[in-house]
Subunit: 386 residues, 2 copies
Amino acid sequence: MRKVVVLSGGIGPRWGRWEKLTGREGAALAAKEAIERAGIEPRQIQAIFVGNALAEAEKQGHIGPIIATELGIPEVPTMRIETACASGSSAFREAFVNVAAGIYDVVLVVGVEKVTHIDVITATTYFAYGMDQVYEARNGASFPGVYAAMAVAHMNKYGTTEEQMALVSVKNHTNALHNPKAHFHKKITVEDVLKSRVIAWPLKLYDCSPFSDGAAAVIVTTEEFARKYTDNLVYVIGSGRAGVQMALPERDDLTSIKATTLAAREAYRMAGIEPKDVDFAEVHDCFTIAEIIATEDLGFFKKGEGGKAVEEGLTQIDGKIAINPSGGLKAKGHPVGATGVGQVVEVWEQFNGLAGKRTVPGAEIALTHNVGATGGTVNVHIFRRG
Amino acid sequence: MRKVVVLSGGIGPRWGRWEKLTGREGAALAAKEAIERAGIEPRQIQAIFVGNALAEAEKQGHIGPIIATELGIPEVPTMRIETACASGSSAFREAFVNVAAGIYDVVLVVGVEKVTHIDVITATTYFAYGMDQVYEARNGASFPGVYAAMAVAHMNKYGTTEEQMALVSVKNHTNALHNPKAHFHKKITVEDVLKSRVIAWPLKLYDCSPFSDGAAAVIVTTEEFARKYTDNLVYVIGSGRAGVQMALPERDDLTSIKATTLAAREAYRMAGIEPKDVDFAEVHDCFTIAEIIATEDLGFFKKGEGGKAVEEGLTQIDGKIAINPSGGLKAKGHPVGATGVGQVVEVWEQFNGLAGKRTVPGAEIALTHNVGATGGTVNVHIFRRG
């Protein structure tokens, strides 16, 4: 197994509502930014892995060859990977494996989603393809609903409060103010969150991540190749994956996502580190409760203390462990297939002095955590500044 | 890189029109058959890669965790891979890479599609998501149309005839008579093909592969692990991938799929063999012309002589090189995401004395060729009887 490095990353067009760009165009722009930032030529790319979840939205599956063609390298093999909201990190995982194994030396990972041009009901329906259609969606469940059930369980068992969840949203909106590519640049208060309309109690509008259009791209390569282009290496030192029963009714415990615990354990073991060694983490806050649960399952706080940790400011950029300095899914945005790749871009930017006022001071080790549905797929990756 | 072995394969329920089975059920049955034939327990499986193209048909994306749950191993990480009609072989590829790299020792690959419950127009629309929506589908192109364009080009340049194409169909229907899991068990004549209704000239109904429901599964593992369960090893000795401009209008030549040539070259090089060493091949005959083009691009016949080769019987089971002994997409059926995995199952059955009257006598080396759309993705794999 060879050491694997993230050579560069790019977001391309700002996440949010793309009025004029199609998915393929946005994807190509993000890819070109990553290629330029790496200082390489497209023809040096040997394979492309694409994270893309909602092909229905643009009636375009099999998007890999289209992106390759837009980059002028149509003969490069591509692969679209779909694991619902974890599609981007699953694509990154296969890039990691292929480079580590010596199959390829230079791989492009692209994540992309274009969804705001369709109406919200249709978009919600398409999103729900990522959950269990038979046992969940067909019975009326949507993602806000199932995460609301998890929130209620967490409140009942641990006393987590609506205010604590609101504070996740406030923090992530604050961080996003300093992220020029974030969907939202809007400072909000706890009051704003609590007074926003109820989507699925206890989750209010401002507890929910948005539908975003967006893309993200990274170049994954070997240590040897990367050294020719930069002295500032970002190593991938851990990678873990796991699943859990897709349908919520089949699970024993709604206050934890077991797949996160398992994937994290594997990633920590590979990296040879412990949760306390992580300086910042981009976690999957599709809903505010999801961030609280994630910070517990990843081992940053004891089970049940994630809400209190937010309240005490421990997850702020200058706190014990910065959570979602980018603004997270909540405020940076959630272009499904791009989300997991965007997390890696954030790590690369943080470690390359490009994060501006959202920089986590002195950070050396970072973790990304990306969840498909309510945990059917969880990918955890760990990075070290070289 | 470790040596990689296909330990077992299974089709599960016969391909065709599933009246009562859902995709998830069919996928689980195929997986269980592969697991039983391997003689292993589900808990020994460390990862699952799923080829599945048309999530829309059952409104179920992210199908990996559902299959894992059906097998009683919900915590095993899964990944759905979509590269249109090449989804199954792309999933197989990642299993190969992960085992070769030492990431996993035992991997399950499942391909599945359930599509016959929706009407043909809708199914055709969903299929067309696999081509270029902007430059092809939106302008009225469908798969029969673009392959018809390739057929016309091949006829014009090389004198390939409608009768030669019909003979591909006749051969594959004949082979499928001996495949109990094939969609069609129907002997046909050249006259039947020529007189069947025109779909997109020169392609008639019997030049076209069907919409099939179906699944397929294989267990991919190391030589060391496999030896504990069998003496009859099926090695994966070559793997190649490539793409080409997705939209037909962007290409220089319609008589060849360049991605096939490139993927084959890579696979032959890895395997250390030449086309003449291949004893039989399962190739992507989504339309009869596609088989003729494939046998040329794979190097079995000189360019332009694929039609003549069929006419001379060279591609029959007892010919120079048996092409599609299983019956191929044309007659075995084409359950999109399952097709590429089903090709590997055929190789495994051939090499394990389970192919009955369709057995290719004395075969030692086999090749599989799976195409996404008109070549946006092509995967070629080569196998050797151990």
